[in-house]
């Protein structure tokens, strides 16, 4: 997920900001940053500076990690209103990219080509919290977006074919071999029993009832 960061040799201090691309669907792509000024990352100007309240920590391991993060945004509309698209649009599945941009601590200007992606994932949930404390006269308005890494999404993906006619016909439209799976499901078979016709199932279609004297005589003649 992350890329190698150029070694900052000869200095003890680094300066950086976070740039977030929040894609909530067509026409709702937000470019957010915690820098002191608008910054351009991958051709997009991150102008929204008053919305980002917090980003939870993200895990990075040697192995591919399925980390999730939460991005907390201000619920007070500034340049953008995040709550409206969250409530009115199916934002689950929206894309989230978090990058880190490095600055020169001496000049506070962006270092050229020092943009590193830190997280890529999709929105899996959102939460809007509105807390009012009338006694203290305090309000809290926050919108939180939960994001899963791309790897986590791939792990949750259903692979292969389920044993039903719908899935079978999805891959083989003319194949009818799974059409009766629904009827066969939970049917009990008396394997080894002599076939006597009847209901057409592979067995009697019922449990052996040894209290049935006619059946006993037929099975055990003496």
């Amino acid at each position: 997920m992350s890329t190698a960061i150029t070694a900052v040799t000869g200095t003890v201090s680094i300066n950086h900001c976070v740039a977030i691309t929040l894609d909530l669907g067509p026409g709702n792509v937000f470019y957010i940053s915690d820098a002191y000024k608008p910054i351009t990352v991958n051709g997009n100007v991150h102008t929204e500076l008053g919305a980002l309240l917090n980003i939870s920590s993200s895990q990075e391991n040697l192995r591919a990690a399925t980390s999730d993060i939460q991005i907390t945004l201000s619920g007070i509309p500034g340049d953008e209103d995040y709550i409206t698209p969250m409530l009115n649009r199916p934002i689950k599945g929206g894309l989230v990219t978090i990058s880190r941009v490095f600055f020169d601590p001496e000049t506070m200007l962006e270092l050229p080509n020092q943009v590193y992606q830190r997280f890529s994932g999709v929105i899996t949930n959102f939460a809007i919290s509105e807390d009012s404390d009338y006694g203290q006269g305090k309000l809290t308005r926050q919108a939180q977006v939960s994001c899963s890494s791309t790897l986590s999404v791939l792990e949750n993906k259903i692979s292969g074919q389920r044993t039903n006619s719908a899935d079978r016909e999805k891959f083989f439209p003319s194949d009818v071999s799974f059409d009766r799976v629904k009827e066969l499901q939970n049917t009990e078979f008396d394997f080894g029993r002599e076939y006597t016709g009847g209901n057409g199932y592979g067995g009697s279609g019922r449990n052996i009832d040894y209290t049935d004297i006619e059946d006993l005589r037929r099975r055990f003649p003496f």
């Binding site: 003890v12 201090s13 680094i14 300066n15 950086h16 900001c17 915690d34 820098a35 002191y36 000024k37 608008p38 008053g50 941009v101 600055f103 020169d104 601590p105 001496e106 000049t107 506070m108 200007l109 006269g137």
Partner: protein, 233 residues
Amino acid sequence: MSCFYNANDTQGLQGVINTAQSITWERRKITGQTMSRSGRTRISSIASAVPWNFTVKPRPRMKYSQTRELLESLDTLDLSIPTTINIGANNTNLSYITEYQGVWTPAQLDQITFTSPSGLNFTLDVSGVPNKTFGDVVFRKGDFIQPGAPITGSYRYPYTVTDTVTWSSGGTITVPVNRPFIPDAQGNPTGRSLTFGSDVTWSVVMVSKPSYRISGYDILDFTDDFRFVEVIV
């Protein structure tokens, strides 16, 4: 100075500043540090706008009957309405805090115009400044500087000079400042005059408002300090 609040002082937060028992401010950067077991230190900080935070201890035992206008204006502002403050322009007894330290006169300073920002440096046009001489100390470290006119100006953020600036020749000077230039929605201040010293202003909003206590006859106290923070939009 009377021990009671002077009803002629400006109202709102400016009134609190003007009569403060103490003023504390901080401009902390958001910074993290590590120290290795071998004693090496590494520092990481976020490229933020470094807003000013003020903590003001109000004067105790004010006369309530002379403070009612102040209380009403504070309740009007509350935590929701930003306002503008200065330190020393309105109450000249405080001007020593923000006083200009250079050698140029107000008439000379009025001729300085803002040219361009570049991170932590401002380039100022001094070509129109009259009677300047080689070696003039234009700014000393700690001087307050703000592009645009005071209070009603089109640019809202003040800065402090981080190194002494002298004029030797040429039509421009480079002034290092404490924080990177913050773009203002009102527009680029290029070509506009600047404000210096005690005339600079801060746009602030209260983040902590104390309660009022009336005790005894006509005696008013605030129960805690005022805290307000610079509003950066």
